[in-house]
């Protein structure tokens, strides 16, 4: 090991944060860019399935809460893009990678939001799963990412609460509302579990990420936490658990559950889910339509600059 590498590993072992100006192995940098940009893109693409219901929210209060949530997600996208930029990649490069499929985003957003209850299910289950992961990432070794996570976690817990509260209103509402809630739970439960990624044994990036403390807990451990915490929440709602094999295992101190449909997981990751094409098309269309606006800003600023220079001369 070179002295630089030794110093880097010493910091990792001592739980010191790595900061943008510190030396870091190229693989560490690449790994982080992959993970943080994926996280940023997830926030941004995640605006679509929820945004799909802003104009149809069933009460003014729900409309306001949803708007504010989606706005927070966009804000998270911004911090994460900024955190990622400290690693030497620009936002426009990241956006290009998203649009060309080189960078991924969470596969959960490739599932359609078909009813109002899906908005509740996303807040409760999807944000709930994200929090389990993000709480763990507050201790990640890269300083800007860790600080971003601390900030984001605070807002996400509000999101999860509002989602669960929206589900509760449905579950305790009319038979139609309750059926809507059950249907949303049935559809979003499994993809939410898939958000933790493949089994540890199948995860291409896990081992190195754990060693460098980018990731602090394994996919399967985090998934188990989420499975465990969700059982009680479903009971309180009075809904049926979508997993018929869910069963407390005294010996492990955890719930046993069915294995996931990994074919579906890999198919969605490969870009063939229900909404993959639609999500990227939407992003590309908005970005392309915004080009003349971005050009206008550049032209306006240039005119102002020239004018200022002339006045100064």
């Amino acid at each position: 090991m070179t002295p630089e590498e030794q110093n880097f590993m010493r910091k990792i072992e001592n739980e010191e944060k790595i900061e943008p100006k510190d030396w870091m192995p190229e693989e560490y940098r690449k790994n982080l860019i992959r993970q943080i940009s994926q996280h940023a893109h997830s926030e941004v693409i995640g605006m679509q399935p929820e945004g799909n219901w802003i104009t149809r929210a069933p009460s003014l209060r729900r409309k306001a809460v949803l708007l504010s949530k989606v706005q927070d997600e966009a804000g998270h996208g911004l911090y994460l893009y900024s955190a990622c930029e400290t690693l030497g990649i620009s936002r426009s490069e990241m956006i290009e990678q998203l649009q060309t499929g080189k960078a991924k985003y969470s596969s959960i957003f490739n599932y359609p939001t078909l009813t109002w209850a899906d908005v509740g299910a996303i807040g409760w289950l999807v944000d709930g799963a994200a929090i389990v992961n993000q709480v763990s990432l507050q201790r990640t070794s890269y300083g800007p990412y860790s600080r971003g996570m601390i900030r984001i976690c605070k807002e996400e817990s509000f999101h999860q609460r509002q989602g669960y509260e929206a589900m509760l209103a449905l579950a305790k509402g009319s038979p139609d509302q309750k059926a809507m809630a059950q249907d949303a739970l049935n559809r979003f439960y499994w993809p939410a579990l898939m958000m933790f990624g493949p089994h540890d044994s199948e995860s291409a990036h896990s081992q190195k990420s754990m060693e460098w403390k980018i990731k602090r807990e394994t996919n399967d451990d985090l998934r188990q936490k989420f499975v465990d915490q969700t059982v009680k929440q479903i009971e309180v709602l009075g809904l049926e658990h979508p997993d018929k094999n869910i069963k407390w295992n005294e010996e492990r101190g955890h719930y046993d559950s069915s294995d996931l449909n990994w074919d579906e997981f890999w198919s969605v990751i490969a870009g063939n889910g229900h909404c993959n094409r639609q999500r990227i098309e939407h992003h590309v269309a908005a970005h392309d339509e915004g080009e003349w606006v971005r050009d206008a800003i550049t032209a306006y600023n240039e005119k102002k600059r020239v004018k200022k220079a002339q006045n100064a001369a």
Binding site: L60, A64, Q71, D176, V293
Partner: protein, 253 residues
């Protein structure tokens, strides 16, 4: 119900309608903005208007005292019963169109809200106090955008001028008075908007001129929002907005 109370109920409903309709239109931009910061800004502005709508409707419901709540006002009235200004209901169009509409609305509120703040009606005055702060920020944003778009590229200039020309005719009714509003203005409760046109015109013309845009001639005017004679756009907007609420009568959300 006294004439004044009935007129105040109608007035609060009108102002609520303006807010909910414009707030809804702005919210249509979320995830469609030219860049992420704009998605956030649109969300912010939309939230402010939805918040205003809730305050106006809650007050209207209190005055009506017939068991209705804010959501009944927003979701259970048809387009013919809505009393919003037509400007607010126009579709989002392109980015220039939305920003020009926003400028017209923001300047309108900039001249209107300080008057409403003086209202003898404490609730209306309190809503105005909160809204004034929001409008200050809204106007800074829409003004900056119109300047940049008007004086940006040839394309942005063309789009922005087109938006100004297409929306201008909808601005006249912003300053119309009817019996209801006259009664309230005489009582020191409502605002006499007919007196605000000059201030609005001066501010808007200054901004458009600075943005190298042409201030249109007053050659046409379309009116009808306050009497429920809307454009074809509102029906579609409300269809979307009200569908879930109306599909589950009497439910809580």
């Amino acid at each position: 119900m006294s004439d004044i109370k009935a007129a105040t109920l109608e007035y609060a409903t009108r102002l609520g309608d303006d807010s909910v309709v414009l707030g809804h239109r702005i919210s249509e931009w979320v995830s469609y903005g030219p860049f992420l910061e704009e998605d956030i800004a649109y969300g912010n502005v939309s939230l402010d208007y939805i918040g205003r709508a809730r305050m106006f409707y809650t007050y209207a419901a209190e005055l009506a005292d017939d068991g209705r709540d804010e959501d009944d006002f927003a979701f259970m009235r048809n387009d013919r019963e809505y009393r919003n200004l037509l400007l607010m209901e126009m579709p989002k169009g392109d980015f220039a169109y939305s920003q020009v509409r926003q400028l017209f609305a923001d300047v309108y509120y900039t001249v209107l809200l300080p008057e409403l703040l003086q209202s003898k009606d404490e609730t209306l005055s309190a809503i105005a106090a909160k809204a004034i702060k929001e409008t200050k920020y809204h106007l800074r944003r829409s003004r900056d955008w119109v300047l940049r778009l008007g004086d940006g590229t040839e394309e942005s200039h063309k789009r922005t001028q087109k938006a100004v020309d297409q929306l201008w005719g909808y601005t006249h009714e912003l300053f119309d008075m009817d019996e209801t509003e006259q009664l309230l203005a005489d009582e020191g409760i409502g605002v006499d908007v007919s007196k605000l046109r000059d201030a609005w015109f001066k501010m808007v013309s200054d901004i458009l001129t600075e943005a190298t845009l042409t201030v249109p001639e007053d050659s046409w005017a379309v009116r009808g929002g306050r009497t429920g004679y809307h454009t074809e756009n509102l029906g579609h907007m409300l269809t979307e907005m009200q569908i879930v609420h109306r599909s589950h009568p009497g439910c809580k959300w």
